[in-house]
Symmetry: C2
Subunit: 350 residues, 2 copies
DNA sequence: TCGTTTACCCAAATCGATTTGGTTAAACCA
DNA sequence: TGGTTTAACCAAATCGATTTGGGTAAACGA
């Protein structure tokens, strides 16, 4: 009879192929997956028939049988209350874009899980093999929830105060901070303030420690300000104003969060300070914000594509159970000097 | 015996619950899903037992049986060759963030499919119920591929020259363009150039048509420049330089793509033109780029969150087969006037 | 009292693949 | 020649849920 059905009647199954090829379902499965013992001629014929019919295996059945979903989730650890558009998610979305690419190349689908109040309930509905979480805060509830389901998790950036040590990609926040601080000192800054978020996030914890050691070693004053992550640029600006009020003679601000840094720039400009002549400003995440700021901000290339790829690889290792590594040192961050801290054409003053 | 096993031996199945509760698997299924006829007491007891044991249904089995995956993909129609970091994906990622949220609220997982050369092969490996494609170009191969699999697709922005009409959310690119052009004319511009991409994308096609009608109606010269999407800001700057060379007296540029607009601003500034005094610049997508540009760019609020939510709703309708709607008019775009086209404090010249 | 409805429950079929545990016939070996 | 290996293939079990098609006993109706 007709070997090709093209009415939208029903999806083709392995049984249809078996019948058309005149073999058993087993043989079809073996032939198509290059497994088992099948006569090369038969194998070729089965493949031919399958192609002709346009057969595609039912992924759901495949997955029930093999126990794999071939998909992973990407979570952030943002506070739910964060307001404002999606641009707030700059960092997460940049990782998302590169991680999705890396995942797809490994045959994995990447599911985006934005920070969401309902996410806690919905997290159980997700059929995933593993998850990547970005810069988790201490005691992140999502992590516990996923671990309860036995789902493998890897974090980008160490989880602070972790009771259950998660495998992670080391973002080297301390070193990155030192890179920025050294640069500022080298440029001549002697009153450097640190502006970080108030969450217990490794990048804040580590950079603060690095900062304290740095200032103490140099005999500099220790000026730490904390702002609310949810507040974005406005919170950064406000924190900067307070810094200026209490320490009018500061000559540099290191603000790892790009939104805080841009907010600080605005506040400084409003206060009549010139950047970089009076105050230098540097940030960590080199996103659109840092690049488009006026003046453009000195930042750090974190090599997020590499980090994403490493996170995917690490996660796969752990899912497959043959992963011994629990900490992976990410690529070395590189300083990108821009006008916000650069040596001005001719020295500003003596 | 012990009713709770907590060794990591094996995932609990419905059979375990059935045994523990002393009923059949059928009854457990019915009880937990609030289906069938089950004694309220039994139902409660089964739920109790299931909770106690920590039973969670195997999603893969559930999906094989019910035929749903509860996940959808988000595709862009970008050229693969596009270089540069993820920030190029600003528009896609902004939709991704809002769409993921809207999808999750509907119990759907959103899988990110970045523009990728290998994507064509990998697209068949994705187990999804439907897909959303952003501003598809004419003849997009991904669409054909998914349709071959019988997967429902909805596009954000009409697909131009479509042979198979896709349901879509109308982005009203023509109206949006007119909004910008009217604004420029109102501000006093009389030599308005249009700078668009060279792909066959609805937003370019529609805005170009609107532009031609607009200039013809006003008796203005028709200055259309096209740049390569993959070129980003540099391509926009180059196109702008050519425009300036051939039409030195232009007094406004409408560049719907934000990267082109920012590139144009750079080129204008290098050419010694003041913005907005000499040349006004406006763009469509109100992303970080437009906001952080110096001067900030007049742009349009497209209400992407609403559009994402509408796209998800439309897709669900079509997946469920009860969708009659094929075109949904998105929310009305709103002009956001900023310094790049604003009336300057005191009129620039007489 | 006998048939019928109703409430409650269950065994088995089903979804569509993969995998286990065979069977059959030809090839090989002593 | 009789016994063993090997190649090629297949039927049935399996994954873990949902759904179909009854079955049983109590309640109801005439």
């Amino acid at each position: 009879m007709s070997s090709v059905k093209h009415d939208g009647s029903r999806r083709l199954t392995i049984a249809d192929v078996a019948e058309a090829a005149g073999v058993s379902r087993t043989t079809v499965s073996h032939a198509l997956n290059d497994r088992g013992q099948v006569d090369p001629q038969t194998r070729a014929r089965v493949k031919e028939v399958a192609k002709l019919l346009g057969y595609r295996p039912n992924l759901r059945a495949q997955r029930l049988r093999t126990g794999r979903t071939n998909s992973i989730a990407l979570l952030s650890s943002m506070p739910f209350a964060v307001a404002g558009g999606a641009s707030r998610l700059g960092f997460m979305m940049e990782i998302a874009a590169t991680a999705a690419e890396a995942a797809l190349k490994q045959g994995l689908a990447l599911v985006l899980v934005p920070p969401l109040a309902e996410a806690r309930r919905l997290l159980d509905e997700l059929d995933i093999d593993g998850a990547i979480i970005i810069e988790p805060v201490a005691q992140d509830p999502q992590i516990a929830q996923l671990q309860r389901r036995g789902i493998g998790i890897v974090s980008i950036g160490r989880q602070p105060e972790a009771d259950t040590a998660l495998p992670y990609i080391d973002l080297q926040a301390g070193e990155t901070g030192l890179l920025l601080l050294d640069h500022l000192a080298e440029q001549g800054s002697r009153q450097i303030a640190l502006l970080i978020g108030d969450q217990r996030r490794h990048s804040y914890v580590d950079v603060e420690q690095a900062y304290r050691e740095f200032t103490s070693a140099w005999g500099m004053p220790c000026l730490v300000a904390k702002a609310d992550e949810a507040g974005g640029e406005a919170a950064g600006a406000e924190a900067c104003r307070q810094l200026l009020a209490s320490h009018p003679d500061l000559d540099a601000i290191c603000a790892p969060v790009d939104a805080f840094a841009v907010g600080a720039v605005r506040a400084l400009q409003q206060a009549g300070r010139r950047i970089p002549e009076d105050v230098r400003v540097v940030t960590r995440y080199d996103g659109l914000r840092a690049q488009q700021c006026q003046p453009p901000l000195t930042a750090v290339n974190l090599h997020l594509e590499d980090i994403s790829a490493q996170a995917i690889a690490l996660l796969l290792e752990h899912i497959n159970g043959k992963g011994k590594r629990t900490i992976v040192r990410g690529p070395s961050p590189q300083l990108i000097v821009r006008a916000s801290s650069g040596r001005t054409g001719d020295k500003p003053a003596l």
